[in-house]
């Protein structure tokens, strides 16, 4: 299996799970020009990131080209160690990826 584009770190402390993730993605706005050819680089950015814990939706993030390249996202929820956490994303070119992890 190819290496996942998602990196997750999820830790529980005092009943609160802090989730941190990094996604490898170019996040092109579609307004930037290629310096060599002078042509516009087509828009290519993540539109949606979903986070589920034990099958329950915790966060839906709607993104645009206004989010930095190789995006970072962190959020917190009430949870416990051993929660099954699933992160998935999809972009405006129809690509997607997902990764499951266990809360430590």
């Amino acid at each position: 299996m190819a290496k996942s584009t998602i990196k997750i770190r999820a830790k529980e402390k005092g009943g609160v799970v802090t989730v941190k993730m990094l996604i490898s993605h170019p996040m092109e706005t579609g307004t930037r020009k290629d310096k060599k050819t002078g042509k516009l680089i087509p828009a290519h950015y993540i539109t949606e990131v979903d986070a589920e814990a034990n099958g329950e939706k915790k966060l839906t993030a709607y993104w645009s080209g206004g989010i930095s390249k190789n995006p970072y996202l962190s959020f917190k929820y009430d949870g416990k160690k051993g929660d099954k956490l699933k992160i998935s994303w999809q972009d405006n070119q129809g690509q997607s990826d997902s990764l499951e992890t266990t809360v430590k």
Partner: protein, 156 residues
């Protein structure tokens, strides 16, 4: 205005239309994309974006929302922003940058048990306000913080 320049402009226009079609989900096989608030992301002003996203252009300024962002960002392509709030029943959070061509950078729907806390990195075209808008108990609250940008992060 020579011939080649004309051709080039035509080319970029075509690409523009194509990406708009893709954005509208016309070229995408995923029906899920319909949930993406396209009109809000296409809004050219903060008011337009908020109106499309939350149904109201304005917001009540609140001290209960906290934006953590640098006073001066050297690189506008990567501006770390953390939004948190002490408000109860927060269902949505939006992060906007007033000086961007499309101010809405991202919007978040919070599930049950999720804290009103989002940390991410946004792009800023030039010096402007980072605006955080939070929907809590059906009302819209917001606050802003100015960030000075040395090198812009949108195009160029």
């Amino acid at each position: 205005m020579n011939e080649r320049r004309r051709l080039f402009l035509k080319g970029t226009l075509a690409v523009g239309t194509l990406s708009v079609a893709a954005g509208a989900g016309l070229l995408s096989p995923r029906a899920v994309l319909a949930a993406w608030p396209e009109a809000a992301f296409k809004g050219k002003t903060v008011e337009d974006a908020l109106k499309e996203l939350l149904g109201s252009a304005g917001y009540e300024t609140s001290d209960a929302i906290n934006i953590k962002a640098p006073d001066i960002a050297e690189n506008g392509a990567v501006v770390p922003v953390t939004v948190s709030s002490t408000l109860k029943d927060v269902t949505e959070i939006a992060i906007l940058s007033s000086s961007n061509p499309s101010p809405l950078t991202s919007a978040y729907e919070l599930g049950k048990g999720t804290h009103p806390y989002i940390s991410t990195r946004i792009k800023m075209g030039k010096t402007g306000d980072v605006i955080a808008v939070v929907k809590s108990g059906g009302k819209t609250f917001g606050t802003k913080k100015q960030v000075k940008v040395t090198i812009g992060g949108c195009g160029g």
